[in-house]
């Protein structure tokens, strides 16, 4: 069994899992199950990227999407009481838009496959192996030298998005109560409890 054949078998296995789980995302009735299928899709795509020796992208996909984004997604889906009927109703209404998107994606993929078939080198050979560096080292060097400006612009856009999200959700209500942790730490017992000194008293009945 030569390694290339093994790699091919692995690729088809991961690809099949990715396609089936992607289908399950849109067909499963239970929304938590659908989110989990999406996680599985990400996972198998990451495995395919690992096969293509893009180890940084593969692990970043798992860390960012599976480890953070999908956890928050799951978090929200679990909290919501999603009405399946309502979701189904929208299906026909959004179908035309979906078909257009699917058609565009199909065209793009066909174009790529066509270019491949005409032996046009779309990507060229793996630049990391050509430079004799690990995938991550090459990616880092490329991002911070050749593509520094686009990289910084992307970072800036993300920061703007972050600030916007914070501002949108941060509403100062007049009645909202806030805690001041440093005040809470500084608090002393005499601020909270007053010790009252008083003499012992007899019950009323005894005096009468």
């Amino acid at each position: 069994m030569n390694p290339q054949l093994l790699e091919l078998i692995c690729f088809y296995a991961f690809a099949a899992v990715a396609v089936v789980s992607a289908l399950m995302v849109i067909t499963l009735r239970n929304s938590v199950h659908a989110v989990l299928s999406l996680v599985l899709t990400f996972f198998s795509v990451a495995s395919i990227w690992l096969l293509a020796q893009a180890e940084f992208l593969a692990l970043a996909l798992i860390v960012v999407y599976v480890g953070a984004v999908m956890v928050l997604f799951l978090f929200v889906v679990m909290m919501l009481d999603i009405n399946q009927e309502k979701v189904r109703e929208g299906f026909i209404r959004y179908l035309p838009v979906g078909i257009v998107v699917a058609a565009v994606m199909l065209l793009e993929m066909l174009a790529l496959i066509g270019l491949r078939a005409m032996h046009v080198a779309v990507m060229g050979p793996n630049p990391a192996t050509e430079a004799g560096m690990s995938n991550i080292a090459w990616l880092g060097q490329a991002l911070y030298t050749r593509y520094l400006l686009p990289f910084e612009v992307a970072a800036l856009i993300l920061t703007v998005g972050l600030v916007a999200a914070v501002v949108l959700t941060l509403r100062h209500k007049a009645i909202a109560r806030h805690q001041n942790p440093s005040e809470q730490v500084r608090v002393r017992d005499r601020d909270r409890v007053r010790i009252v000194k008083m003499d012992a008293e007899r019950p009323q009945e005894d005096q009468a």
């Binding site: 069994m1 938590v32 989990l36 996680v39 180890e55 940084f56 692990l59 970043a60 798992i62 860390v63 599976v66 480890g67 953070a68 956890v71 928050l72 799951l74 978090f75 679990m78 909290m79 690990s134 995938n135 991550i136 080292a137 805690q179 942790p181």
Partner: protein, 339 residues
Amino acid sequence: MAAELWLVFWTLLKILAITIPVILAVAMFVYWERKVIGWMHVRMGPNKIGPLGLFQAFADVVKLLLKEVVVPANANRFLFFLAPLLALVPALAAWAVVPFGQGLVLANVNAGVLYLLAMSSLGVYGIILAGWASNSRYALLGAMRSAAQVISYELAMGMALICVLVLAGSLNLTAIVDAQAGPKGLFDWFWLPLLPVFVIYWISGVAETNRAPFDVAEGESEIVAGFHVEYSGSAFAIFFLAEYANMILISFLAAVLFLGGWLSPFPVSWGWIGTPGFGWLLVKAFVFSFLFLWFRATFPRYRYDQIMRLGWKVFIPITIVWVLVAGCMKYFGWVTIGG
């Protein structure tokens, strides 16, 4: 063909050579925890089964395995049984890249630290799904708390790891240990230039494993036992195993990333005590795992909003500043990297 089969077999043997000691270490760690906390409470701890109570952990395992696994009514059966496995698999898989000595590692991958981050971020799925699939309010609350907490502290942990990467110039764990070698021994390790980040890494590690004082996901005084309240028998045992395997993993990583892994704190000229070896890694990891127990016996549980505040408003800003400091250290050559 025979060579490939042999490779698969050999790798399987190596995997077993890591996972079986880890599982045994978990059993002994549980015994050690009960003993240490017992001493700290001025109690005896387990002392009936075997010499010094040493077999207590195994008795517990047998008890848990023989107990019935009760599935709550209306629980999602598939996810209910999947959740413990999802918690355990990443906890064991992460060990693949942990180096135990020079060249003594199962998978010497270039992106070792990234792989560790990926695996530790997967562990939270087990907790969330357990909480949801149990169809219990307490479990769901525990899962929610845990999800928010793990994500928050993963950021601080990731930023702390970035500082290590900047100094070591590599994501490979063996290369990170090699970068800490030097004639000054103890003072060449990364804990010194990265002291604040080291502390933050450790505290985030405790929070990430949902251990006291950050164990609000279990919070037995408020939500009974949190995410695993509905689990019994072997399903509960798997959660238990995953939690303790993660604790040992975090201890090993703290030793590898900040305390020079298998390097000796003493100069080489001191003879056997100065030679690097697996023993040193074990000693360092043992100290860290002891800290877990010490914390549990010492600190009261954090309030939930304060956990969030500590993670987001204290740790993350400090680590961001220290990434900058580490960059300066590297750029201006303030620290020597490698022997």
